[in-house]
């Protein structure tokens, strides 16, 4: 009898589990968000109930504090914030809301590389005449280029990801190397460490196509040209010599066993980083915060991290690159685009919110007021053992960054690039072959999407 009861209980559990699994798998629906309704479910408490409400999706860990700051300072508008998931999870929801024609918030957090794909679907509002002029000077040209598509501006920049080379001082000291300044030196250093029985020097991860794209840009590649005023035309140049050189370089490092090929951001990878399996981590300014959150820099590997500028192809003509960073975009479903634009430009723009963001290493702000401030420049980053990383590495990188042209078929491109990196890592193709295959694949998709392709 007892067995029966237990069995019944387990069966019920199993059923519930199966149902949960189903809904987890199939859930792409716009179940959250209120489409600009005043009575939408907000995660924050709205204090000034008479003011008009703008709904916002954002995922940064301090979003609530930032929204509260904004609401306190404004009587004319209040923000109703929802965390609709980080990155891909939010985009999938937003995408569904776009397809459905309702369910999107007024303002949505998007990364720079996602703006063009949403813009081409006519889902975002051009902010050129909605307050852009007032804040134009707060950001660099590169920051604006990243949130622009053609002549239109489709996002208010929040933070960026100027890249640097994070490395372990202990490993560098042990094998007697100094931070390499060129990619040739990088490879030589990797070889030296490897020959002495040291750890992997870096990682070439299939699941980070955005990082690899940044590396291509650094070599002067321009994989995409796109201007929506000529909506049907896109330039795709993924098998240029510059791209091939970068992919061949990394394919070579992989083949020689100098770098790891694990996916990044997985628990596996983080624990390998903590264990000292990687001598460097080529990443953005937001990485320390992320790594710290995952437990890096505590215990065994505390105080061993430092950062240096990215290695260059041509040291005489250094190129700064960027990985990640977000913006607030106003959606076409916004009830009052003007008010929504005010929120997009206003949230995360007051000093209190910005300071909290960078001090806790949640964001690397792009606001020039912060970048120029002594407090920010001279900040001794605890993760880097007190190194003035902002002044030495990240602020110069952010200022030198020229911006990228993102493609409206970015989703597909990333997925195709992931496949090719995996093929490189498996030793199935060379870098050049991967570039050719990538070009063919992405061009075919672009044509199928009705774009006129310039190769």
């Amino acid at each position: 009898m007892k067995t029966k009861i237990v069995l019944a209980a387990i069966t019920t559990l199993a059923l519930a589990g199966a149902l949960a699994a189903c809904s987890a798998g199939g859930d792409g629906g716009a179940s959250t968000g209120g489409g600009g309704n005043a009575d939408a479910n907000c995660s924050n408490t709205i204090k000034k109930k008479d003011a008009p409400i703008v709904t916002l999706w954002a995922w940064y860990p301090n979003s609530e504090a930032v929204v509260d700051n904004f609401n306190e300072e404004h009587d004319d508008v209040q923000v109703c914030w929802t965390n609709a998931g980080a990155g891909g999870a939010e985009y999938d929801k937003f995408q569904t809301a776009i397809s459905a024609g309702s369910g999107a918030p007024d303002v949505v957090m998007v990364e720079a590389d996602r703006i063009a794909p949403f813009q081409v679907q006519d889902a975002l509002v051009d902010l050129k005449d909605l307050g852009y002029a007032d804040v134009k000077d707060n950001f660099s040209e590169g920051a604006w280029k990243d949130v622009s598509v053609g002549d239109g501006v489709y996002g208010a920049p929040i933070d960026g990801g100027p890249m640097g080379m994070i490395y372990r001082k202990d490993v560098f000291d042990k094998y007697g190397i100094t931070p390499p300044t060129t990619w040739q030196e990088f490879e030589a250093a990797a070889q030296k460490v490897k020959d002495a029985g040291g750890p992997n020097f870096a990682s070439f991860a299939a699941n980070q196509p955005a990082e690899v794209t940044a590396l291509m840009y650094q070599n002067g590649a321009e994989p995409f040209t796109y201007d929506p005023s000529d909506k049907g035309e896109i330039g795709i140049n993924l098998n240029s010599d510059e791209v091939k050189e970068v992919l061949d370089y990394w394919a070579g490092l992989v083949k020689k066993g100098l770098v790891g090929t694990e996916d990044q951001f997985t628990p596996e990878y983080i624990s390998a980083v903590i264990a000292g399996d990687y001598a460097t981590y080529l990443s953005a300014a937001w990485a320390p915060g992320y790594l710290q959150g995952a437990g890096v820099g505590e215990g065994a590997d505390a105080g061993v991290w430092a950062t240096a500028p990215m290695p260059q192809w041509d040291p005489a003509d250094p190129v700064a690159i960027n990985w990640g960073g977000s913006a607030f975009s106003v959606t076409k479903q916004a009830k009052d685009p003007e008010l929504a634009a005010k929120v997009a430009f206003g949230v995360y723009a007051d000093k209190k919110s910005l300071d909290e963001g960078w001090q806790n290493q949640i964001i690397f702000p792009l606001n020039q007021d912060v970048l120029k401030s002594e407090e920010f420049q001279n900040y001794e980053v605890p993760f880097f053992g007190g190194q003035q990383a902002n002044k030495e590495v990240y602020v110069p990188a952010a200022n030198a960054y020229k911006g990228m042209t993102y493609t409206p078929i970015g989703q597909y491109y990333y997925s195709a690039l992931t496949k090719q990196i995996a093929a490189i890592n498996d030793g199935k193709v060379t870098g050049s072959e991967a570039a050719d295959a990538l070009q063919k694949d992405v061009v075919a998709y672009a044509k199928e999407q009705g774009l006129t392709v310039k190769e």
Binding site: G17, D92, Q95, V120, A206, D263, A422, Q449
Partner: protein, 308 residues
């Protein structure tokens, strides 16, 4: 309709009674009917309707009739996904069935507390949501946390990486077998319990050994249950989604977005903003499932019938 109107007056009363009875009948069916229509028929119909259109980023949506299906069956991504799930089924299903049958037969023979406990334990994985199961195995396979790595290390060897593109097939095979073998075992076990014990007695009197009883009596008599499991497993495997989707977060290189047809449909619909093609892939997959199950049932029709 005209026929009812022209009916003679005499039958009117009877027909109105019949109509009332009919209405009562419908009222009973209504709760089910409404839910069935709203949650199953309408969505499927709508998905089918969507699948008849083609959407592109430029130029919008246009009606293409079966164009998407033609495209799907020429799409290397879809075809390689289908190829994968078919290959996967060919290995997985026999393995799963043999395993669950063997366990069920063993548990049928041993009648102790231990058997009950084992039955429960073997069934347990099914009680764990597939998503969690996949996550858990992801960790077990891990080079840094996993027990596998430690075991191999103690022999001075490196553990195979089941999340690499060359071994992911086996990694997934293990997860799915672990997850479902217990469930199938219960089905077979229940069928075994339903066999009349006098048959065994008769067999034993005739001098049959334990093995003969298994081969000549037990297995033939649970054949319908095996058939049921086969169909379940076939449908389930062709629609493979949860496990690879979860493991993708740990092994994006080994599991691309078009790894299985269902994942590909998901990518099309929710990442690439092409719900039309996503719907078409789902239906195309449905067609593949239908054909596979049909072929299978056709092939086993004779063998299944000897039990009746």
């Amino acid at each position: 309709m005209t026929a009812t109107i022209d009916r003679p007056v005499t039958s009117k009363r009877r027909s109105s009674t019949a109509r009332r009875q009919n209405l009562t009948g419908w009222a009973f069916v209504a709760p089910f009917g409404i839910i069935f229509l709203a949650l199953l028929v309408v969505p499927i119909g709508y998905a089918f309707y969507l699948s008849l259109f083609q959407k592109s980023l430029i130029g919008g949506t246009r009606f293409v009739l079966f164009g998407n299906y033609v495209k799907a069956f020429n799409d290397p991504s879809f075809l390689s996904g289908v190829g994968f799930v078919i290959r996967f089924s060919l290995v997985l299903i026999p393995l799963q069935m043999a395993l669950s049958l063997a366990i069920a037969l063993m548990l049928d023979i041993i009648i102790t507390r231990f058997a009950r406990f084992s039955r429960l334990m073997i069934f347990m994985p099914y009680a764990i949501p597939t998503v969690i199961g996949a996550l858990m195995w992801g960790f077990l396979y891990s080079d840094n946390f996993g027990p596998l790595a430690e075991i191999f290390e103690s022999f001075g060897r490196q553990a195979p990486d089941f999340l690499s593109s060359s071994l992911i097939f086996y990694g997934l095979l293990n997860i799915v077998t672990w997850q479902w073998a217990g469930y199938y075992m219960i089905i077979i076990y229940a069928a075994l319990q339903g066999i009349d014990p006098t048959l065994y007695e008769a067999a034993r009197i005739d001098g049959a050994s334990q093995w003969q009883i298994i081969w000549r009596i037990k297995i033939p008599l649970v054949a319908p249950a095996l058939l049921l499991i086969l169909v379940f497993a076939l449908i389930g495997t062709l629609q493979f989604f949860n496990e690879p989707k979860i493991l993708q977060q740990l092994a994006a290189g080994a599991i691309p977005n078009d790894f299985t047809p269902n994942m590909y449909a998901y990518q099309q619909a929710f990442s690439l903003a092409n719900s039309n093609y996503g719907a078409a892939i789902s239906f195309a997959l449905g067609a593949v499932v239908f054909v596979c199950v049909y072929i299978f049932l056709f092939a086993t029709r004779k063998r299944g019938s000897f039990t009746s």
